[in-house]
Symmetry: C2
């Protein structure tokens, strides 16, 4: 558990202290858009996160109340990671990040359908994603 000093009262700074590193939002993305929920699944991300870094980020996300660990229904060797309400509230940020990237880089095929939905009805997409995630709480 590393507690870092608050750098300022700015809300942007507050947010970046919670998820402003190279990995946290990718983990959130996987929990949110890719329906991953175990350590092993998260470790197999395209970006190849090192296992110690994954463990560290999962801990800090948990300490920041963005994710929570639960018993896995299938096996007690597994751990179920899921977004809390606070974590699900990051959906609009993830959506905007996707939309920004869409303007400035090529989107891979497998993400195009999601982008199309975000563009067609941003609010609807967010509400729907939220609803699906809340089913697991």
């Amino acid at each position: 558990m590393k507690t870092q000093k608050k750098r300022s009262d700015c809300p942007v700074s507050f947010s970046l202290e919670a998820f402003g590193d190279k990995w946290s939002l990718l983990i959130v993305r996987d929990l949110m858009l890719k329906k991953k929920c175990t350590y092993g699944e998260l470790a197999k991300s395209d970006e190849k996160i090192a296992t110690n870094i994954l463990a560290a980020r999962l801990l800090s996300l948990e300490e920041n109340g963005i994710i929570q660990k639960m018993e896995h229904p299938d096996s007690k060797a597994k751990v179920l990671y899921q977004l809390t309400q606070k974590g699900m509230d990051l959906i609009p940020i993830i959506v905007e990040i996707n939309l920004w990237a869409e303007k400035y880089t090529n989107i891979p095929e497998e993400r195009k359908e999601l982008l199309a939905q975000m563009n067609a009805d941003k609010e609807g997409f967010i509400k729907n994603a939220l609803k699906e995630l809340e089913l697991n709480l």
Copy 2:
């Protein structure tokens, strides 16, 4: 100039490679919301960024096409930093980050007015902020 290898084709990953560190979005915030535009002003941020780090982040933001350096109208000892179109397109992300933080931390007085505007009319706020920034291009 540091060129980093692309970690994956994911748009979220692409975005984080451009601004996914502890400082870049704070610099963008200052250029966007606090109307700072010189190295000296940016160096005086609440978060007290070290000058070498500031220089490094400004360079990487420039390399990523998010900001650009211009001649300062007042003096050639000064440099004018400003957001490019690509940088201005980060406004929706900055807005969502502010709104997320508002739910989970106390907002300082001096930011409350901006938050009120974002809440009252998000689209209008974004359009207006964009218009103001474009005046300087």
